[in-house]
């Protein structure tokens, strides 16, 4: 769908904006609902897990963003938070967990090791999880300060609000692009 629209000139953009007012309201409402109730799947591997614990705890409270409850089953989650280094042995598992999460889903790469492999440029480490799954927000830092994580979550919330949400979405999930 996206590639079709890319090759067609301006008229398609106007068509895109010209979805009905009701659909826009629904999209905004669903966006509001989805961004304030993120159920995260904490795919915690390494040191960033310590900062993840801090972000979820009392001082830098993730609960006020609506994203506090971790769901340890991918079927019940919609935000995949990949915290920490993912190495080549873990990559198939990450891929499988990502595929198990139902649409709509978002992925946050927490930390530089998840974003780009960090300074582990060697035989064992995956150089960034965007080599196996599509990523929505990258939070750099080794490990990132909790304020940076909260900034990343807020950025994700802005992104979710800006996406097109439909009540009944019959489009198949696009593998290799998040909407």
């Amino acid at each position: 769908m996206a590639s079709e629209l890319d090759s067609v000139p301006v008229i398609a953009t106007r068509k895109d904006e010209a979805i009905g007012a009701l659909q826009q309201m629904v999209s905004k409402g669903l966006g509001w609902a989805r961004k304030y109730s993120l159920f995260q799947y904490p795919f915690v591997t390494a040191c960033c897990g310590m900062e993840y614990m801090t972000v979820g705890a009392a001082r830098y409270d993730l609960d006020r963003f609506g994203a506090a409850l971790p769901r340890f089953s991918p079927r019940q989650a919609d935000l995949l938070m990949v915290t920490g280094t993912v190495n080549c042995k873990q990559a198939p598992i990450l891929r499988r967990v990502w595929e198990s999460i139902a649409e709509p889903k978002w992925v946050v790469a927490f930390g530089v090791c998840a974003s780009s492999g960090g300074f582990y440029d060697n035989y064992a480490t995956l150089q960034g999880i965007d080599r196996v799954i599509p990523v929505d927000v990258y939070i750099p830092g080794c490990p990132p300060r909790p304020e940076q994580v909260l900034d990343g979550i807020m950025l994700l919330q802005q992104k979710i609000q800006g996406q097109q949400h439909k009540l009944i979405d019959r489009s198949l999930p696009v593998v290799g692009g998040s909407r």
Binding site: C88, N122, Y123, A124, R131
Partner: protein, 174 residues
């Protein structure tokens, strides 16, 4: 620190334990021939005057270019006598097989698996010698000096991204 131990070893295993020296910080180190390593370790553990009841660290080193190529290093500690000793066992590349010391210290199990996984040294008599860190489909032994630092063998197909800042970097050798 443990000269008594070194003297006892040199006396009891004359041609097997050789070249004792004192390393920096007062470590006592000896070289042991690989054929008799199990016997030496058993003596060190069972003899009440030696009493080396713990093997905190066993590792291997790859001296590429030297002959014999590998060396297995046993760091031993005695809790009752509070002394340490280090045994260095040279292992040639063609015959990279040693006796396992798991019958003596059960804790040596995973250390020997690590030596097998990372360097390719085999241990006879080990209960479960298989790869420890790397996955079974991995070919090669990563910590050997002739294995490239960036020799990645991906398990899942990866999407290549253009790397603007990936240059020679600190790992300029590879």
């Amino acid at each position: 620190m443990a000269k008594v131990v070194i003297d006892a070893l040199l006396e009891r295993f004359p041609r097997i334990v050789t070249d004792a020296y004192e390393g920096p910080g007062g470590d006592d180190v000896v070289f042991v021939r690989k054929e008799k390593i199990l016997e030496v370790c058993r003596f060190l553990k069972d003899d009440p005057a030696m009493a080396f009841n713990m093997a905190p660290y066993i590792t291997a080193v790859d001296y590429l270019g030297q002959e014999p190529r590998f060396e297995v290093v046993y760091n031993l500690y005695s809790t009752s006598k509070n002394w340490r000793v280090r045994l260095r066992v040279k292992v040639p590349e063609e015959d990279a097989v040693l006796d396992s010391v798991t019958p003596v210290w059960r804790g040596a199990d995973w250390f020997e698996r690590y030596c097998f996984d990372m360097y390719g040294l085999r241990f006879t008599g080990h209960p479960d010698l298989r790869r420890l860190f790397m996955y079974d489909e991995f070919v090669g032994h990563p910590l050997r000096k002739d294995y490239p630092l960036r020799g990645r063998q991906p398990l899942t197909p990866e999407i290549e991204h253009p790397e603007p800042f990936r240059g020679p970097g600190p790992a300029g050798r590879d």
